[in-house]
Symmetry: C2
DNA sequence: TTGCATTTGCAAGCGAACCGCAAGAGCAGC
DNA sequence: GCTGCTCTTGCGGTTCGCTTGCAAATGCAA
């Protein structure tokens, strides 16, 4: 939260590679940290600190929430993790690197669409050209109305999706 | 917050017109409501509920924060008010209508640029074309790096702006 | 002026995130 | 393998933004 979100990502492809990255930076590999790493790899999309602390609802041993926040912040500082705010609700965390995503969030049905950043380059370019502003939709998403909700009359929009349910790019 | 943000705006150009709009909808014009309306008109941009409750730091009589939230929600439901989340920090409220704005927020220096929605139509169009998604940057802004911060080396970006300081479109 | 539903204002609660600090545990050096 | 230093943990408590519950106050129609 206090992190700049702008440090270069270090992409790792396994929990042990992540731990190695920590050691290389003089950070210790504690069991709490191992659990956060494990949860990030086990999750199939961005997850909240709370869910990590719960061991992804019991799949993994649970940890102290404060430590999870502290470790996520540390990880984000070194570029191992990114966090994103998808609408209201808690911030969600994911491993940084290769699979970085940007997001569209429907403010009517709460559906989240994860995109390859390249898919938004047209929009980004339009903004850069006009304002010299470099838009990044990875930390705060694009909010609006999805296709379904745009087409539907107000009172019968798509049903609200469960929080944290990220719909993969089409 | 629980409001859909999608109801049609009713544009009013004076506090008394706002009160009239309330009465027309069967709502009562209490002194607490009058104060919220007065604060919204007195403010020169989006303001937090807290600052409204404080009477814009003492310029106006202060009110109970809970009532302010409740009234802002009511006002938003009837389309008199809009609220926007500019980065972290509290939601900010402004009168709906004619002067609606969309926002660019620099995540490095926190500077906020308020834009006429038409200026973002190119970007919006690019997104609509590709995803059928109707982007709205009035409730959640576009976040990224402003011109100054894009150009500067990381360690000497523009100084962070004070919260709630909205820079008018160029 | 009365009656009553709407609003208010206070206290308490809640979710998300953070701080301080004593106790615990990595890891480098022996 | 042990020692000792330092980093980390885990707990309690706190803050921030916002909401809920409820009794008392107050617009406003009649």
């Amino acid at each position: 939260m206090t992190v700049s979100h702008l440090n270069p990502a270090i992409g790792v492809d396994s929990p042990s590679a992540a731990c190695e990255a920590l050691r290389q930076r003089g950070l210790r590999v504690s069991s709490a940290r191992r659990l956060v790493v494990a949860a990030l790899f086990a999750a199939d999309g961005p997850v909240s600190a709370e869910r990590i602390a719960d061991g992804l609802d019991g799949q993994l041993p649970s940890t102290d929430l404060t430590s999870v926040y502290r470790n996520l912040e540390t990880f984000e500082e070194i570029g191992l993790v990114r966090h994103v705010h998808l609408g209201h609700g808690p911030g969600l965390y994911a491993l940084a690197g290769q699979g970085d995503r940007e997001y569209l969030v429907c403010e009517s049905c709460d559906r989240i669409q994860a995109l390859d950043p390249a898919e938004l380059d047209d929009a980004r370019e339009a903004i850069r050209e006009r304002f010299g502003f470099e838009a990044r939709f990875s930390h705060f998403p694009i909010v609006g109305l999805c296709e379904v909700c745009t087409d539907s009359p107000r009172h019968e929009r798509a049903p609200r999706a469960r929080r944290e349910r990220v719909v993969r790019a089409r």
